[in-house]
Point group: C2
Chain length 241, copies 2
């Protein structure tokens, strides 16, 4: 949230004065046909009104009426591990930040670091989703939009998020599992295949494809840049006017 | 965060016009001594400038320059179980909400409901504090101030919060332990004394009194209303200008 500084009100006063006084001079000239007096009236007006305008601005800064709370949205990236969710979400976040809206980035890894010991069973994941939904809701209550990236493999937990938050936009990052495996720089797929990692979405646990995703990004067909453009366009059109 | 609606810009235009045109009419009258023409010029000016003012406002709504991010604060209520933290914090929250600032209420109970299974050992509590500090920080990044109430019995965890967040204001709700025990409507002191509850601050675990509290509320001497007035006054003076 921002508030107008004194400086802003003064500069606004000057910028307004430039074309307001021009108008006055023209009007006075039309009525009296005396350019010299019209200009003199304009000069006197300028001096008086920059100050008046400033006082008027400062008074309005204190008036609540007529200001609309910004509607927050939640961009929710879901997809297999290493599908590219975080990379695309980071890029989208960076672009959306430029719009000067209150915005927060939430990534699975960061949140799991904060709540150590959360497992990957269905129950653990669902409870974890509930916590994240609560965090997003808290931020939204304060007009803060979110860019969230979580594997979120179960339909029920994505549905829970949708029910908890406002203006939920699901982005399904659709990447072939073979591509994800090939990208396995963390070695997690390998560990899952060998059985060392349990409940690994796509290998020894299900990833339930979203059926109502607002945006589907097929990473075989689209670059990160193209995906970013598409998602930012969607958000701009629907939520940032 | 709020944005100006179109309506607000129009009404601002009219309110400005009323005294701006009065000034013009006076100036024109001083120069030309013809009240009829001065008024006619004023009428023409009014029609032209309400529209111009509106356009000027809408242009400035889009300009970032000269707006200052609101500085968030964190009010941190600490004290023995049943000392009255939550009651006073609720009352302060209600008052501060009237100031039209982005504000969030965080209470121990709500957060513990979200993260079930967090214990009450020193390690558990410290880790829990770290999570809450992170939440406050996330909110503060988006200009949201917080009113938090947590027993937070250890100096080290209160210090960790102070280091994580901005504008931290510790309110020590100082209540005699005998008073807290007498208030024991939840039966928690009874359970702690019988040994059923472990790590209960003030009974079988330490409550380390804060040494650097910005505000100390002695609940034997002050009513909830008086405490609220004192705390709100402090916040208004330091953080809400």
């Amino acid at each position: 949230m921002y508030k107008d500084t004194n400086k802003r009100s003064i500069v606004k006063g000057i910028s307004w004065r430039i074309f307001a006084t021009t108008t006055t001079v023209i009007i006075v000239y039309i009525f009296f046909g005396r350019l010299d007096l019209a200009i003199a009236a304009g000069v006197l007006e300028t001096v008086a009104k920059v100050g008046l305008y400033w006082a008027h601005e400062r008074a309005w800064v204190k008036i609540r009426w007529g200001r609309k709370k910004i509607e927050p949205f939640n961009l929710w990236f879901t997809g297999l591990p290493l599908s590219g969710k975080t990379t695309i979400a980071d890029s989208v976040f960076k672009e959306l930040k430029k719009l000067d809206i209150p915005l927060e980035r939430l990534d699975s890894k960061d949140i799991r670091d904060l709540v150590p010991g959360v497992g990957f069973t269905r129950e653990d994941r669902n409870r974890h989703m509930h916590r994240i939904g609560h965090l997003i809701k808290t931020l939204q209550n304060n007009s803060v939009s979110t860019v969230a990236s979580f594997v979120s493999p179960y339909r029920e937990s994505r549905k829970a998020i949708r029910e908890m938050v406002k203006n939920n936009v699901v982005v399904y990052v659709k990447t072939d599992i073979e591509t994800c495996k090939a990208r396995d720089y963390k070695g997690v797929y390998e560990k899952a295949i060998s059985g060392e990692l349990k409940n690994f979405s796509g290998i020894n646990d299900v990833y339930e494809e979203p059926q109502h995703a607002e945006v589907i990004i097929n990473t075989d067909e689209k670059s990160v840049e193209e995906a970013t453009v598409e998602i930012v366009k969607y958000i701009k059109k629907k939520y940032v006017r």
